[in-house]
Amino acid sequence: PISTGAVVKASRAEGGWRLAQQVVPSMPTEPEHALRPLHKNRFSTTAAKDIINEVLETKLKDKTYNAELTSQWSRDIADEIKMKLKALELPRYKYVVNVAIGEQRGEGIRIGCRCFWDSDVDAYADSTYKNDSLFCSAIAFGVYLY
């Protein structure tokens, strides 16, 4: 039987060496107490941005601003983006998604954010969608849990 990381046992019997067990190199896995995620398990800004763009495009494509429905849309979009981020299956990451939808009446708006975190493992992705009657700004943050 072949087991990962097994030690080679060679025995010397009559007529030469015989290999009793084979060493199979094991894939690097994250130990329970990891302080840093593996590179492939990091929050990727580009992947998250694609997810946000896709959700905004499908949900708001031909919609006009409507005072009653927009509050439901903003909640749906936030939940959908969060579910898709969960589907990326990055271990030990927490997600925060913020969505703002407003009517286009020529008003000015400025949305800013600042984060106090570990920039090595934590990241964010944002995107805006505009059409003639509404604009939508969505931002998703990924924070690693030590």
Partner: protein
């Protein structure tokens, strides 16, 4: 490994709420909506908030968002969805307004 007491390690909404309110009042008190100054105001509000939050010295990572909008009668809806640990993480949203603009600040605190 000893665990921290739950009061120390949980996100305290009231404390953070009062910090946010103070920060907004400090920066936006005498402001009339001015398109050129808005980027500066958002940065100032966020930085003031952040400095005060870090002075709390809690084992938290913070995300502070600020939206300043002109009052033209247009509607705005904000929603957020979070995947975190309910017992230790939390968020606080504070709304502030004057005759010409609205300011909405949200703080998310995530335990490390």
């Amino acid at each position: 490994m000893s665990m921290q007491s739950s009061e120390e390690a949980a996100f305290v909404q009231d404390e953070v709420s009062s910090i946010v309110k103070e920060s907004i009042d400090q920066v936006m008190q005498i402001a009339t909506y001015n398109h050129a100054k808005v980027p500066q105001w958002t940065s100032d509000v966020i930085e003031t908030c952040m400095k005060k939050l870090t002075l709390l010295n809690k084992p938290f990572k913070y995300i502070v968002t600020c939206a300043i909008m002109q009052r033209t009668g247009a509607g705005l809806h904000m929603a957020s969805s979070c995947y975190w640990d309910n017992t230790s993480d939390g968020s606080v949203t504070q709304k502030w307004e004057n005759k010409t603009c609205y300011c909405i600040v949200t703080v998310f605190g995530l335990a490390i």
